[in-house]
Symmetry: C2
Subunit: 220 residues, 2 copies
Amino acid sequence: MTGTRPPTHEGERPAGGGRERRARQAYDPSSLVEVAARVFNERGYDATSMEDLSAAAGITKSSFYHHVRGKEALLRAALERALDGLFGILDEPAASTGSPLTRLRHIVRRQVEVLAAELPHVTLLLRLRGNTETERWALERRREFDATITRLVRDAQVAGELRAGSDPAVDARLLSGLVNSLVEWYRPGRMAVDALVAEVDRMAFEGLRAQVPADDGRAS
Amino acid sequence: MTGTRPPTHEGERPAGGGRERRARQAYDPSSLVEVAARVFNERGYDATSMEDLSAAAGITKSSFYHHVRGKEALLRAALERALDGLFGILDEPAASTGSPLTRLRHIVRRQVEVLAAELPHVTLLLRLRGNTETERWALERRREFDATITRLVRDAQVAGELRAGSDPAVDARLLSGLVNSLVEWYRPGRMAVDALVAEVDRMAFEGLRAQVPADDGRAS
DNA sequence: CGCCCGACCGAACGATCGTTCGCCTGCAGA
DNA sequence: TCTGCAGGCGAACGATCGTTCGGTCGGGCG
């Protein structure tokens, strides 16, 4: 009903690429994951059929299975990409250098950038319900990431860099909730990523109320 | 797999109620909606089967249909409850009295309370994808609510009560995102609602950074 | 006491799901 | 030119979905 079939043919076929010996599939290596992530987000994972996915890729359902192992494998690949992006932030030098607040702000700002760059994949990650083993695995890794944020918020509060009198765990959840809520409305091209980073940073640490700017947010 | 069947029998049967003539169903009027909303949130709407719902209610699937019209009707009822709660806030006198910032803060604080009181129903509302007509109708009403918030944020910024130099639409989205993200982690009993309201209010308008309190948040 | 009807149930419906199978086709390499 | 095979297809599989149907049961009321 009210069909929303795009004009098929997603992306262009790699013209003459894949000259290696193990050129198993010429159609696409991970571009199908990208297509799948997009459709998953539009309809929701459970409401998305393999027919929907194959149609978005421009081939039939049975052909689709020549390139992917199954629905859950697509989900896992997309989630891995999101988690790799997020955990990659924690490996950056600036994530473990300087005061707790400096590190926290770096992570938050980079998290916004990763969110924008890997929007479909991260969106998928943030909407998991934990129905399958794959989903539970991803949720567990996500909890690890959040735990790191919580520790940093706690350290920053102890150091007197964040507001006192509140539970660091609550503050960390509010902070992560603010950042993650971007996936619900931000769309690439609608707003420069730099501007988005600045807005989120200011909102998170200075709030919405009018005030004299403290020291501005030109970090790094 | 890994069945999570609760010990059946949800709530208690109304002892001797339903003495009116049109006592069509004695089992439950809207308590089934509550059960459904809870299970919908655990598994996701599409991943929830009528078997799941009826089992959570303690009866078989076919018996379940003597009390409800269908899956989508349950969803609609739950969404109506959420929307009624949210729009009820806008009808309160304090929502249209005083300065824009005063009104906005009242709405935000009340929104947190409604979120906590109607947690399963609002959670359902915030996770819609728009696959069915019912979902699109609810999304449209939700957009109306958000538009009201956006107008208020704009007015408050024009009045100099909110930070300048940022797009009011973006600020409104960040604000709503912060508030709505509560459904992802807040659970009743884990934290007093009053404390939650205070934390969110302070986070939204003052931010996380340590600072001297401006005028405190004892509104109304 | 006997009937009536709301509550409840087992079984089955057509539809759709994710996945598999057998077959066709067009072209790259011998 | 012949051939192998990756890429693509239609049809069908068992399972599960939301929903319906016919029937049983038991307690309140005439």
